[in-house]
């Protein structure tokens, strides 16, 4: 093999760089889910908590399309419970604390959903704006 020294050195550097995130985070604290303020007067979300945690964004997208585009405004969950499809009237009726619920995880995961560019969080109403 020609230039084996250069190629091998290059490979080692490449492997080091590509695995850098693993080296860098070695020994640091692992990811802790943030402390959320859960609704007090409700024990169970519309679907199991774990499922909601993974899929709430997909569910909200489907809710949006069904409600706005198809005119189907009632959701029947796997447990057979019916509810109105509405972020403001249904979701945030229980999850009244956007800052200590929604934002906590979104900030930690560095995602910025644009739901509240238009939709009104309970805090905004309470603050008079």
């Amino acid at each position: 093999m020609y230039d084996s020294g250069k190629i091998l050195t290059g490979l080692v550097i490449f492997l080091f760089l590509i695995t850098f995130p693993f080296w860098y985070n070695l020994g640091q604290a692992s990811y802790e889910p943030p402390d959320l303020v859960l609704p007090e007067d409700s024990q169970q979300c519309i679907e199991p908590t774990q499922w909601m945690r993974t899929n709430h964004m997909e569910l909200l997208n489907t809710w949006r399309d069904m409600s706005v585009r198809e005119g189907l405004t009632t959701f029947v969950s796997t447990s057979g419970e019916s509810m109105e499809i509405s972020l403001q009237k249904t979701c945030m009726d229980c999850h009244t604390d956007k800052v200590n619920f929604c934002d906590e995880c979104h900030n930690k995961a560095a995602v910025s959903p644009y739901c509240w560019d238009c939709h009104i969080a309970p805090e905004e109403v309470a603050n008079g704006q």
């Binding site: 993974t54 005119g71 405004t73 009632t74 959701f75 029947v76 109105e84 009237k89 560019d117």
Partner: protein
């Protein structure tokens, strides 16, 4: 490896079978819970072709207009912006603006002085729907020309397409201009076009449009396709005109003048 046509086809066939048999059901399962349902709300008021009659004889004083406009704006978080960035869902104008082709220089004084209530005409052949590149505005089976604010990219083709000026663009964030936010309805963001939705959300909850409720009988809302409906009764008994019918948009808002 001996790469020939036979082995290639075998591998390809096996991969497709694996994808169809394993991958797709698995990924679907991850995104949709097994047995949820989306159904219309029980109380929903349904119709085949919604329309409205505006009885201009019942709108004489400024309060008559104000009451109706307030009701709509409060329900839908319509911002109160003065000047050329005004957001219009339901508003007023003079006869020569409302019915330009029926206007003449010797108009009866009564019409010259009077204001007329304006809103989206929910046309049967809506030009705004034709020009929308993202289908953010679309026509529902019941005739309502609906806006999906989520999908609007703010190109404003619909504003150019609408001959009635029924559409308004949010040049800046409208939230600060809304007096009392209604927590039951969203606001809009900068860069989105908005207009009257014939209160589609209220109809789905079994309520009449907000303006109709506040109008004390000045506005009649109903199903144009049902010959026994109140609106058809009113249309039978009164002479009505519509705005700019010569354009072929077939508007569904009728005026008793």
């Amino acid at each position: 490896m001996d790469n020939n046509r036979r082995t290639f086809l075998k591998i390809a066939g096996f991969s497709v079978a694996l994808g169809l048999g394993g991958g797709i059901p698995l990924s679907l399962q991850a995104y949709t819970p097994a047995d949820v349902e989306y159904v219309p709300t029980n109380a929903q008021i349904t119709g085949k072709r919604w329309g409205m009659v505006i009885d201009t004889r019942k709108f004489t004083k400024p309060e008559d207009f104000q009451r109706v406009i307030e009701a709509c704006h409060q329900t839908h978080n319509v911002p109160d912006i003065q000047g050329n960035e005004e957001i219009k869902w339901i508003w007023t104008d003079h006869f020569e603006q409302v019915f330009p082709s029926s206007s003449n220089p010797y108009l009866a004084e009564r019409y010259e002085q009077q204001d007329f209530l304006l809103l989206c005409n929910h046309c049967n052949t809506p030009p705004c729907v034709r020009v929308c590149p993202t289908k953010a505005t679309f026509q529902r089976p019941d005739g309502i020309v609906m806006m999906d604010f989520h999908r609007c990219i703010g190109c404003r083709y619909c504003m150019a397409g609408c001959p009635y000026g029924s559409r308004s663009f949010n040049f800046s964030d409208p939230k600060p201009y809304v007096q009392n936010l209604n927590p039951d309805f969203p606001a809009r963001m900068r860069g989105v076009v908005e207009k009257c939705t014939f209160c589609a959300a209220r109809l789905e909850q079994g309520q009449m449009p907000a303006c109709v409720e506040a109008s004390n009988g000045g506005l009649i809302f109903g199903d144009l396709s049902d010959p026994d409906s109140e609106i058809r009764e009113v249309l039978r008994e009164n002479f009505t005109i519509r705005r700019k019918v010569e354009l072929g948009t077939n508007p569904c808002v009728f005026y008793i003048v």
